[in-house]
Symmetry: C2
């Protein structure tokens, strides 16, 4: 027996689905059909990014836990690899323009790439990254 080697959905528990989906639309992403302020999703290759009210997600993922707003980083990063350094700079500027919080402006990485980090309005970290050995995004 095994768990299929697959990831189909990444769900962010949202304090406000309405404002968070507005941010992702503002960076240029298109929602799937049927999206509303109770649930929305974006198709990203073979995975979907979903936004779901945090109290409802908590009831499934961590029943009984208090989910008061937490400011601490949540130990996870999500990455968008791109094909050129310029796309990193352009995407970073677009994200900040849309309301992202800049965490680290794009810099050369010692492993040979170029990347920066921003946080969405609820603190989820995204890395925009160019890596010379990873330019086939499926």
């Amino acid at each position: 027996m095994a768990v299929p080697q697959r990831m189909t959905v990444v769900t962010l528990g949202a304090y406000s689905v309405a404002s968070l989906r507005a941010f992702y639309r503002a960076i240029g992403w298109r929602e799937n059909e049927g999206s509303d302020d109770g649930y929305t999703s974006f198709t990203l290759g073979t995975v979907r990014l979903a936004l779901y009210p945090i109290d409802q997600l908590r009831n499934e993922a961590s029943p009984g836990e208090n989910v008061a707003v937490r400011e601490a980083w949540n130990r996870v990063t999500l990455a968008v690899n791109v094909a050129t350094r310029d796309e990193v700079d352009e995407g970073f500027a677009a994200a900040v323009e849309a309301g992202a919080r800049p965490i680290q402006s794009p810099v050369e990485r010692e492993w040979g790439g170029y990347s920066g980090y921003f946080a969405d309005p609820e603190g989820h970290r995204w890395e925009l990254v160019w890596a010379p050995f990873f330019t086939d995004f499926g």
Copy 2:
């Protein structure tokens, strides 16, 4: 300007890459080449799941923040959709056998699906889910 609509990597900041990668191997997943106890990744369709030491990931994603071990749920869930109810049950049993903490055993969902939640050894939540309207995994 826009951010490309794409998600290429989900990185979990790991307190122990060694023990966490052992868990993912134990559920049957194969690591990419070059994996070691400093960094490992698993290809999941068009996204990669990466495990990276939390202090190093913190330096990039949340510079200066204290990342003392936190037990609280991190507001994110990751999902593995499967093609049948039986696969949910079998995968759930395999995960628990490999050392996962059962959060909620598989149950019928009011929206028509069947799913359960488990936590990996560092608390990251996974939903194993059968949804009748989502059986094409790309």
